[in-house]
């Protein structure tokens, strides 16, 4: 696989870093578990973009395969995460991650 035409790798990385930072901030700042999960997905996608960008830059398909694996894991993680959110909602627990501090030492 040869390197394709398009923007430089640095652009991809910039977008990837932006996405990752957005996601990370979302995880850190937001308190609604749904949004936290969403932000997690954004972080993962940031990572994926970097993988694909490098793959394209280096002409190596490994990065793309890795990105596919990340997506599969992300999908299953979302299933579990959303399942937890639904279960919390059913128990009429306030959907606020700061209130879920039962594991405090």
């Amino acid at each position: 696989m040869t390197a394709l035409l398009g923007p430089e790798i640095s652009w991809y990385l910039a977008v990837s870093g932006f996405l990752f930072a957005t996601g990370a901030l979302g995880v850190l700042l937001r308190r609604n578990p749904l949004i936290v999960l969403l932000s997690l997905e954004i972080m993962l996608n940031g990572g994926n973009l970097a993988l694909i960008g490098f793959s394209r830059n280096l002409g190596d398909g490994g990065g793309q395969i890795f990105a596919l694996a990340v997506m599969a894991v992300a999908a299953s993680e979302v299933v579990v995460g959303l399942g937890l959110v639904v279960a919390l909602n059913r128990k009429r627990v306030t959907l606020d991650v700061d209130r879920l501090n039962t594991l405090r030492g």
């Binding site: 990370a24 700042l29 936290v36 991650v97 700061d98 879920l100 501090n101 594991l103 405090r104 030492g105």
Partner: protein, 626 residues
């Protein structure tokens, strides 16, 4: 002959094991008969060995039979072996013979006790231990028997384990004996180091005088502990907590005589250490006086006899110490007869009075138990050494030997022995007159019940009868001025060091007979005819009743400092350093855990922040380091 000796040794052990393993499948009385039978079999074995030895001459009268090599270490080895020689056969006959009678007597005395089977298993074990001690073919095996005698005496003294006093007495006996065991073991270590052997023959070897003295001292320590001589005598009167036949067994045929046997058996080393031999004689003389004095004020029938035992063993120590081994052994034998007789006659009295032992409550028993009265009278006369009873023949020759030892020391021992004779007459017949003469006391009239002619009565009466006969005729086998078969018999093993002149013999006989009789006369005038009042000297009486404050002194010297020191260690080291450090370690770990636990906020976002910042820091570090 060799088989006879092995049968003698092993049959009580077999009985002890059989009774133990048989458990409740055998009746209580069957256990008693089994133990008795095993002791009689042992006696038969001893007789076989005796007859076998009679058929030999001189040096052939020493056979070592080795079962197998027991311990090997480097160039040292010890066999599991027994020694058959005139001395061991002499002891085998006394131990198994008198032991068998006492075990037989126990069938009657212990009748109705809850744990008779255990009792008879212990008794058989005791006889076995003592036989092992006297038959041991080397010093190591002798020490094994020595220790086992201590163990079985512990078990028997504490037989009535629901009585705290009995348990305390058993522990006391064991601890006192353990001191002796330890000194003996030390002596043996020294022997192994110097001679690389524990055969009896090694004792005759050449040692430097320091080594000989130390070894002899160690052996003397063991002998003193086992034979209840000053300063390790305090366990013996307390040992009266055991059942009366146990007292008879410990005091007459076994255990306390072991010390005398040990000295005679190892006389070769004592002859190399004459100072220690003199010390043994001196301790014996001191003990016979002290015990005789204490016996004057005791009010427990068994304790009076117990102190008389101490006193008589004192005579044996004098005899063995001055080197008159045959006379010490002869007195050991006659003492076994009359002391067993006294204990067992006292046992009949105790039995008839429902376990009452206080002589102040007794009196006038002569009319109620005339046969026991005669038995007790024979035992008492033999103890005092009145012609023609057994003690007369054996005790006087010890006194003559002390005189023949010569020097001021010999005469001192001799004088002590003579004063002891006076005391013996006094305390023996004090007991005798108080218990048997006069009118029956109120207590006696109320509680006395005579022996019935059933198994109990018969097994109590016959051994006493046999011993009464032996106490009369047992001494006739040797009368030092004229004939001495015991001396001839033991000659190859223990040649006596002293041979008293004829005038010394006769002087000792006359004086001791005179003093014994005057002791009896004084006792009679005070307690029998009540013509004299009992002299009351407050401080003397208090001293005697406190047994010369030996127990108190040992408490003050050993027990109290030990407790004080232990408390000091507890307060100074144990509590602050050892036990507190454990607690502190736990506390600190918990505190540390609490500190770390604070990091666990339970807030997911802080975790995320921690992860993110850590990654950021790591990234920066990587970049910089690169």
């Amino acid at each position: 002959m060799v088989y006879g000796a092995w049968i003698c040794l092993l049959s009580p052990l077999v009985a002890a094991c059989a009774i133990t393993l048989g458990g409740t499948r055998q009746s209580r009385r069957a256990a008693g008969y089994l133990a008795t039978a095993s002791c009689f079999v042992a006696f038969a074995g001893a007789v076989a060995a005796f007859i076998g030895l009679l058929g030999r001459q001189g040096g052939d009268r020493q056979i070592i039979s080795t079962a197998w090599t027991w311990i090997t270490g480097g160039s040292y080895q010890s066999g599991l072996q027994i020694l058959i020689d005139p001395l061991s056969v002499f002891m085998m006959l006394v131990v198994s013979g008198v032991g068998a009678l006492i075990v037989w007597y126990s069938i009657g005395y212990m009748d109705g006790d809850d744990e008779e089977r255990r009792y008879f298993a212990y008794m058989a074990l005791f006889v076995f231990s003592m036989l092992l001690l006297v038959q041991a073919g080397n010093l190591l095996l002798l020490l094994a028997g020595w220790g086992m005698v201590g163990l079985s005496s512990y078990l028997l003294i504490g037989y009535w384990h629901e009585r705290p006093s009995a348990v305390a007495a058993a522990k006391k006996a064991f601890v006192m004996n353990a001191i002796g065991d330890a000194t003996m073991a030390l002596a043996f270590f020294l022997l192994i180091q110097k001679g690389n052997s524990l055969e009896f023959g090694i004792l005759g070897g050449q040692f430097s005088s320091t080594v000989a003295n130390l070894v002899a001292l160690g052996l003397l320590g063991g002998a003193v502990a086992k034979s209840a001589q000053i300063p390790l005598h305090t366990w013996l009167p307390d040992a009266m907590e055991g059942p009366t036949p146990v007292s008879a067994l410990i005091h007459a045929a076994t255990m306390v005589t072991a010390g005398v046997y040990l000295i005679v058996r190892t006389h070769a080393i004592f002859e190399q250490a004459p100072k220690i031999a003199d010390l043994a004689a001196g301790l014996g003389a001191l003990t016979l006086l002290v015990a005789g004095l204490i016996a004057l004020v005791q009010v427990d029938i068994k304790r009076v006899i117990a102190y008389s035992t101490m006193s008589q063993i004192g005579y044996m120590f004098v005899g063995a110490g001055v080197g008159s081994y045959p006379n010490a052994m002869f007195h050991l034998m006659t003492h076994a007869f009359f002391k067993a007789l006294l204990f067992m006659a006292a046992g009949i009295v105790i039995h008839a009075l429902v376990n009452e032992q206080d002589i102040r409550k007794m009196g006038g028993l002569r009319q109620l138990a005339p046969k026991t009265y005669w038995a007790f009278l024979i035992g008492s006369l033999a103890l005092v050494g009145i012609f023609p009873f057994a003690g007369f023949f054996s005790k006087d020759s010890i006194l003559a030997a002390a005189m023949a030892h010569g020097g001021w020391y010999g005469y001192l021992l001799w004088a002590a022995g003579l004063i002891g004779t006076l005391l013996t007459g006094l305390y023996t017949f004090r007991l005798f007159f108080i218990v048997w003469w006069g009118e029956p006391s109120a207590f006696v009239r109320e509680h006395f019940h005579p022996l019935r002619r059933d198994v109990v009565g018969i097994s109590l009466a016959i051994p006493v009868g046999v011993l009464a006969v032996l106490s009369v005729v047992g001494g006739w086998i040797q009368f030092s001025p004229w004939w001495h078969p015991v001396e001839t018999w033991l000659q190859t093993v223990a040649e006596p060091l002293v041979s008293p002149e004829s005038w010394q013999e006769w002087l000792s006989i006359a004086l001791s007979l005179l003093l014994g009789l005057s002791g009896i006369a004084v006792a009679w005038s005070i307690y029998g005819a009540k013509r004299l009042a009992v002299p009351r000297i407050a401080w003397a009486q208090r001293t005697l009743e406190h047994k010369f404050w030996f127990d108190e002194a040992y408490d003050a010297v050993f027990y109290e400092p030990a407790v004080f020191f232990a408390n000091l260690l507890r307060r100074g080291i144990e509590e602050p350093i050892i036990s507190d450090s454990g607690r502190d370690l736990g506390d600190d770990t918990r505190d540390l855990g609490g500190l770390v636990a604070r990091a666990q906020t339970g807030l997911v976002r802080t975790y995320v922040l921690a992860i993110a910042s850590s990654v950021a820091v790591l990234a920066v570090v990587f970049v910089i380091v690169k």
